[in-house]
């Protein structure tokens, strides 16, 4: 289908778009190559509040593709990412949960988000987060990712409206492994898809 640009917003509409994004609250589960990059993109896009969850600490290997710095090694990812996001937008609203997210706490911690971004690593956790969100956050759009590893073309990474309230980013098949590592560029492409789909949903353009 040909790309049909949205009409350029008039100034007052543009202000309304900015206002909508400022009023938005987005949850991000997992602050690795996807989640940490989605976070800064949403911060720069003007999303007002981010709820960030990851139980882990910054590891030297994370610096290959994640939005952390060498002097943050050993810090909780939630704490390091908060500091980095506040360097972009001092007044951004941040809620941090340094804990593992599963069906026991997802609904409680993310009950008031407008969009939930699934950005965890393992296939098991991805399935668990999407299932728990579907049950506990009915009506909340979930922007998930699957198939972001390896040497494949960046052009194979796309956004689909998969089913129900689930949008899926990725090539769907490229599983991370020793032979197919995660590369900064390809993961960032997927993170960009997730961030921009989130913005589109928040602005009322839910088509992938």
């Amino acid at each position: 289908m040909p790309f049909v640009p949205h009409p350029a917003p008039a100034l007052e509409e543009y202000e309304e778009l900015r206002r909508r994004l400022r009023a938005a609250r987005v949850g991000i589960v997992g602050l690795g190559g996807l989640g940490s990059n989605v976070a800064w993109m949403l911060a720069r896009a003007g999303v007002g509040t981010l709820a960030l969850a990851d139980h882990d600490l910054v590891d030297p290997s994370n610096l290959e593709r994640q939005f952390f710095f060498s002097d943050q090694i050993g810090l909780p990812k939630t704490e390091a990412l908060s500091a980095n996001l506040r360097r972009i937008t001092a007044g951004i609203g941040l809620e941090c949960f340094q804990t593992h997210i599963d069906e026991s706490n997802l609904g409680e911690l993310f009950g008031d988000v407008h969009v939930l971004v699934e950005a965890v690593d393992s296939a098991h956790d991805k399935a668990m987060i999407v299932a728990a969100a579907s049950e506990q956050l009915p009506g909340v759009p979930i922007v998930a990712a699957s198939g972001v590893a390896g040497y494949g073309s960046p052009n194979d990474i796309i956004t689909r409206h998969l089913m129900g309230d689930v949008w899926m980013v990725g090539d769907l098949v490229s599983e991370a492994s020793v032979e197919h590592p995660l590369f900064a560029g390809r993961v960032a492409v997927a993170a960009g898809h997730q961030a921009h789909m989130t913005v589109r949903i928040l602005l009322g353009y839910p088509q992938a």
Binding site: G35, A131, M163, G164, S174
Partner: protein
């Protein structure tokens, strides 16, 4: 009862062989099943591998013991690691 099965990505190879009238799309088939069939029974019947999967019926997560009803759409997606 007649239901639709949508198996995404690598799972599309597990869709039952059907006539062209049952082919809804590349990854979706219409299928006749006995009344009372559960989600888990369809997963067993089609031989889906024992790997993580997202299972939805009519756009909502569905547990294995959910009983399907006429016109339901069962969708299964296999997430892969990396993030």
């Amino acid at each position: 009862m007649r239901v639709q099965l949508a198996f995404f990505a690598s799972l599309s190879q597990y869709l039952p062989e059907t006539g062209s009238e049952d082919r809804v799309s590349a990854h979706t088939r219409a299928m006749d099943l006995p009344d009372g069939t559960t989600v888990g029974q369809v997963i067993t019947l089609t031989g889906l591998p024992d790997e993580p999967r997202i299972v939805f019926v009519n756009g909502r997560h569905a547990p294995d013991d959910q009983v399907l009803t006429e016109g339901d759409r069962l969708a299964v997606f296999p997430p892969v690691a990396g993030g």
